[in-house]
């Protein structure tokens, strides 16, 4: 179980690590209002990451690992992601008010965010087998991405950010919950 968790994080670090530090720095420098919006999206990214790639889930099943351990690994990763991100939010929330909003940073940060987002999107979607689910995800991501761009450059309405971010977050969580539920059912059948 820990081997999976360790490897998944190490792999994610390999994929997104180089974007993480500049992202965090710019995030802080971007200011509080924008940060509120960004936080929601980091939270979403965290939830998406823990969904993992379906192909790798299949690969784990071919390895000598108990299936129940794969399920636990996914749950633990979900908890870790949300805990770390929440902590990060509170820490940065203390620093951010001290810094004034910088429009330049805001634009650069949003570009990095979009880049990070497409990385995650590609990794998740490339591993999907179910065509309906794949289409649904692509649509969901496309709409959200369009909304981000629109709001960043045209909207700037904080309430709108929140609504879109949380609708998306809830969708992701509900899909994740469904997947876990599905797994528990399968696990029960094996008993």
């Amino acid at each position: 179980m820990w081997k999976i968790i360790k490897t998944e994080y190490y792999y994610m670090y390999n994929l997104y690590g180089k974007w993480l530090l500049p992202f965090l720095v710019l995030l802080i420098l971007s200011g509080k209002i924008f940060f509120d919006f960004l936080f929601n999206y980091i939270l979403i990214a965290g939830a998406v990451l823990t969904l993992q790639n379906d192909n790798r889930y299949y690969m784990y099943q071919t390895l000598p690992i108990k299936y129940v351990e794969i399920a636990y690994a996914r749950i633990i990763m979900l908890i870790i992601n949300f805990t770390v991100l929440t902590l990060l939010f509170y820490i940065i929330n203390i620093i951010v008010p001290l810094i004034k909003l910088r429009l330049l940073f805001l634009s650069v940060t949003s570009l990095i965010l979009i880049r990070l987002y497409t990385f995650i999107l590609f990794d998740i979607i490339s591993g999907m087998r179910n065509k309906t689910k794949k289409t649904m995800y692509i649509l969901l991501f496309a709409i959200t991405l369009a909304a981000i761009i629109f709001l960043l450059f045209l909207g700037q309405n904080r309430i709108q950010y929140y609504i879109i971010a949380w609708i998306f977050l809830l969708t992701v969580i509900s899909i994740k919950t469904f997947k876990l539920k599905e797994f528990v059912v399968v696990k029960e059948q094996y008993k």
Partner: protein, 288 residues
């Protein structure tokens, strides 16, 4: 000798397809070809064996150990390669193999390196940069490096061109022959297994049509041409290919028995020809 694989009354039902009930036994050190058209149930059987899907009924034992999802010992004896070839795409081949090696106490790096050399895999290349052929090779290295005694190959060469496929299979079977593995190879490309299969299992619509040693099939199946002056011939299991002016061309699944009946029927100008595995398999699969 202990069976490498024993399947008892295996059943799996989908909305539009039912597999089984299947009963199978595979002997250690033998290569068994699992032949059937697309959608016959080959992959479902293989995935049940590898524990990737749960059968509705029945039992699967690998070297005497049941393949339950919450035990892992049986997986040490099982090498599984299908057409998916899943890896950490953005990692190099070396990083991937290192990851897999953690899970197998009997992972043999010397053997892995020998295979890598043989397959000419570039260890520093990222998996995403590999061609389909090289991904297949990497999957095979992964499946063989912990020296499993039973190898399940579910159409691993799908998508490869004939030259790459032949080259790959030549190396693969050479390695396997030297290591005395049991192999269960599913395919619908008959030439893939013709050379090395000891036993053949034919599956159609989820049911096993025939299981027989390859040599038996080659020994018994023949095409027979003859003239029946009065059109009176006693044919049972034979497949009639052509009848023209009292001249018959038939395929017999047991030519000695057919010849006896033909002689009794006073057939004339009897000519018997051998058949190859391709021809025999096509005839078996045609008989739905």
């Amino acid at each position: 000798m202990e069976n490498s694989l024993t399947i008892t009354k295996l059943e799996k039902e989908f909305d539009d397809f039912i597999l089984g009930p299947l009963n199978l036994e595979l002997e250690q050190g033998k290569v068994t070809g699992y032949i059937g058209p697309n959608g016959a149930g080959k992959t479902t059987t293989m995935q049940c064996i590898a524990g990737l899907i749960k059968p509705d009924k029945g039992e699967i034992k690998i070297f005497g150990k049941q393949n339950t999802p919450n035990s892992i010992e049986w997986k040490y004896n099982l090498g599984y390669v299908d057409d998916k070839h899943i890896f950490y795409e953005k990692w190099s081949c070396a990083q991937n193999l290192k990851f897999f090696s953690q899970f197998y106490p009997n992972w043999d790096w010397d053997f892995a390196n020998e295979l890598i050399k043989r397959f000419e895999i570039s260890l520093n290349k990222k998996v995403t940069q590999l061609s389909t052929g090289n991904k297949v090779k990497l999957s095979i290295v992964r499946a063989l490096s912990y020296r499993p005694k039973l190898l399940i190959l579910d159409e691993p060469t799908i998508g490869l061109d004939p030259i790459a496929r032949t080259e790959l299979l030549n190396i693969l079977f050479e390695i396997i022959e030297n290591n005395n593995n049991a192999i269960f190879y599913s395919t619908h490309i008959l030439s893939d297994i013709d050379r090395l299969a000891d036993e053949l299992i034919f599956i159609i619509n989820g049911k096993i049509k025939l299981q027989a040693p390859k040599e038996d099939l080659l020994e018994k199946w023949r095409t027979i041409s003859f003239k029946a002056p009065n059109n009176q011939v006693d044919l049972n299991n034979e497949i009639i290919i052509q009848i023209e002016n009292n001249y018959y061309k038939i395929i017999s699944p047991d030519y000695n028995e057919t010849l006896k009946r033909l002689q009794k029927s006073e057939a004339q100008n009897i000519t018997v020809n051998r058949m190859n595995i391709d021809e025999i398999s096509v005839q078996i699969l045609k008989q739905k």
